[in-house]
């Protein structure tokens, strides 16, 4: 479930663009939107803690993300992402960003439950259809 949510929201943000820079900008935009929606509820520190963990998990799988840092309060959610993805295979970059957002959503589900987590995601992207997805509870537990 988390993977599919992440894929849809990134696809929505990136629009027509498909090169690594477009994907990085879309990821930054998505992250900013999530921050604005979630920081009020779980606090800036809470958001940053989850993002830090999500990025860290993604780094283990996609080594080229190792220089990415999360600093939402400083105005940039994913510092160093643009530089990290330049010249990479767009398909791999897309996979890495989907994995990162999926990690974030999985963590959110783990802590506040799938119901509340999906509500917040839907509220952030009301124009993106998420209603057709299964519960994803099992995946969230992984």
């Amino acid at each position: 479930m988390a993977m599919e949510v992440a894929r849809r929201l990134l696809t929505h943000e990136v629009g027509e663009g498909q090169d690594p820079e477009d994907l990085a900008k879309a990821a930054e935009s998505a992250c900013q939107k999530l921050y604005r929606q979630l920081a009020k509820l779980i606090g800036s520190a809470g958001f940053q803690a989850l993002l830090l963990r999500a990025v860290s998990l993604a780094k283990a799988e996609f080594l080229f993300l190792k220089r990415v840092e999360s600093e939402p309060e400083a105005g940039t959610c994913l510092k160093g992402l643009l530089e990290s993805v330049q010249g990479r295979d767009p398909g791999v970059v897309k996979d890495s960003l989907i994995a990162m957002f999926a990690n974030f959503i999985s963590l959110l589900v783990t802590f506040i439950g799938e119901d509340l987590a999906l509500r917040l995601v839907r509220k952030t992207w009301p124009e993106v259809p998420f209603d057709d997805m299964g519960s994803g509870s099992e995946e969230a537990k992984k």
Partner: protein, 566 residues
């Protein structure tokens, strides 16, 4: 001022079972309240339960979280409670994190943030959790003084009240802070939560320190936190309305015809009865017979058991020929198993009360008081007698007949605490015991006391049979007690005059015969030395068995108690 001119304050239901009764009917609308207590006492759970019960899309709730209570964790844990309705989150209830404002700014900036959110959401309920952290966090930067805090609080209270919000500040405070901290002065209502520990047991308690415009029930009330949230057990039990009070006429059959006869035709309806006896003497059987007989006569019953689970109890009864199982299925009987950890008398009573109301019960059995005593948290043992008194009174006040059993240990003159304490509280006492008769150990039964009726003073042999208790012949002649047992007369005395020893009972009996007398007259009549007599009289006065008055420079003593059975 006439009634028409008075402002009417609407009361909001708290959504916390038992709490509305404690705070005087509900929460005054637009009031500014403080929920205080130590860590882990249940402050956040309480305030969220109130919030979820009252927030709606028309009157949303605004919940400000601050440093020290990470919202991520709070949302995670609080979701486990039944009252946490996910549909209300971010619709009827908005959680807003103020940590950054507290870290960066001063109290005025915090107030500005609160005002901004309140004006945007237009809430009916506002919570700041924890307010203590707001003050601590901002005071580091701005060195606010008490006057500054008071001014902030007054502005906050005034603003939120004028914005028609009912407000709750949550905070960890010590009772010793009450005098100097302005938050206690500004608050309209203060609820204080405690955890009281004794030996291995911990009990949660709540106190209403203040509730402007209302008459709360003072004192400490126990509460429990379960998956459904908080439930409060008011210390006054249920307030019985005058119209509900009734003293029914007639007698209730015990289900044992010969015992009914011994009791002058049965138990007077609305009486409290104590059945005391050693282990295996048939107390539980008599209690089951009493309930079964009631159901047979169309009088539903409630049995509270403490030592056995209802299923085991019902199976045991079935083996003895009492089909209590069917009675429960037909809705004529409810068997309550009261055995949670650290039970409070109020909690037990509430369960019994709810069951009697649900069934329209006329008979209640508590089997046994010994089990009840063992289930209670140690902190309640000291007040057990008072709690039992209020419980018995509340039930009998609405015409319910209550039968309780209690175990008497009969070896080496060991006298258990409870029977003698509570015998003073009940109307009627039936005593069971073993005696050695013609080389056999037999069971005998006697009616020791009936407050509202004459009764037989016979000692009668009885047997436990497959048809229940069967009472036989009167014991006449020689009774030989097994070694170490207290004499029957002594037991009757102890039950009838709890707290007195034999010499004191003799003085009381002499006083009853004389109706009134000075110490000298009593000493002469009884052949006692004055110091011995005065010691006994002091004891009678202390336990309210006698009164004294000065007449013509002489102290005259008068008895208060009656001879047992009279």
């Amino acid at each position: 001022m006439s009634e028409r001119q008075r402002v009417s304050i609407r009361q909001l239901p708290t959504g916390v079972p038992g709490l509305d009764q404690v705070i005087g009917g509900g929460l005054p609308e637009y009031s500014f309240n403080l929920i205080a207590g130590g860590p882990g006492t249940g402050k956040t759970t309480l305030v969220q339960q109130i919030l979820f019960a009252n927030a709606s899309p028309e009157h949303p709730g605004l919940y400000f979280t601050v440093l020290g209570k990470p919202p991520l964790k709070m949302l995670r844990y609080q979701q486990q409670f039944g009252f946490f309705d996910l549909d209300k989150v971010d619709s009827a209830i908005r959680f807003v994190n103020l940590s950054q404002e507290v870290l960066d700014e001063n109290l005025s900036k915090v107030l500005e943030s609160i005002v901004r959110e309140v004006e945007g959401v237009n809430p009916g309920i506002v919570v700041v959790d924890s307010f203590r952290t707001v003050v601590r966090g901002t005071s580091k930067a701005t060195e606010i003084d008490q006057l500054g805090l008071q001014s902030f609080l007054q502005r906050l209270a005034l603003y939120l009240t004028s914005w028609q919000a009912t407000t709750f500040l949550v905070g960890e405070y010590l009772e010793s802070e009450m005098r100097d901290n302005p938050v206690f002065t500004v608050a309209d209502g203060i609820l204080w939560l405690f955890q009281s520990s004794e030996r291995n047991s911990t009990v949660r308690k709540l106190r209403v320190m203040k509730m402007r415009g209302q008459a709360p029930v003072l004192g400490l009330h126990t509460f429990r936190i379960t998956q459904n949230g908080i439930e409060v057990f008011p210390r006054t039990f249920k307030q019985i309305e005058e119209k509900e009070r009734r003293r029914p006429s007639g007698r209730l059959s015990t289900g044992v015809a010969a015992l009914d006869k011994m009791m002058g035709g049965g138990i007077p309806a609305g009486d409290s009865v104590l059945v005391a006896g050693p282990s295996g003497s048939g107390k539980t059987m008599l209690a089951a017979q009493f309930i079964a007989e009631g159901v047979r006569r169309g009088e539903p019953g409630v049995i509270a058991v403490f030592e056995e689970r209802p299923q085991e109890y019902l199976e045991w009864a079935e083996k003895l020929g009492f089909n209590l199982k069917e009675m429960t299925h037909l809705g004529n009987l409810k068997v309550l198993y009261l055995h949670p950890l650290d039970l409070s008398p109020n909690e037990a009573f509430l369960e019994i009360w709810e069951a009697t109301r649900q069934l329209g019960a006329k008979r209640v059995v508590i089997d046994s008081l010994s089990g009840f005593e063992m289930t209670l948290a140690p902190t309640f043992l000291e007040d057990l007698r008072e709690s039992l008194y209020r419980m018995i009174e509340a039930l009998t006040d609405i015409g319910i007949t209550v039968l309780m059993t209690v175990e008497r240990v009969e070896v080496y003159n060991e006298l258990r605490f409870s029977p003698y304490l509570i015998s003073f509280l009940v109307d009627d006492i039936i005593l069971q015991r073993y005696i050695e008769l013609e080389g056999r150990l037999r069971k005998i039964m006697t009616v020791v006391k009936m407050r509202n009726s004459p009764h037989s003073k016979d000692l009668r042999i009885y047997e436990i049979t497959s048809r229940g208790l069967v009472v036989g012949e009167v014991v006449k002649g020689y009774c030989n007690l097994p070694p170490g047992l207290t004499s029957l007369g002594e037991i009757i005395t102890q039950l009838a005059y709890p707290g007195l020893i034999d010499p004191e009972v003799r003085v009381l009996r002499a006083l009853i015969e004389l109706r009134e007398a000075p110490a000298e007259t009593l000493a002469q009549r009884m052949g006692l030395q004055i110091p011995d007599l005065v010691r006994a009289l002091d004891r009678l006065l202390a336990l309210s068995y006698a009164t004294q008055e000065e007449r013509e420079r002489q102290i005259i003593y008068r008895p208060v108690a009656k001879i047992p059975g009279q």
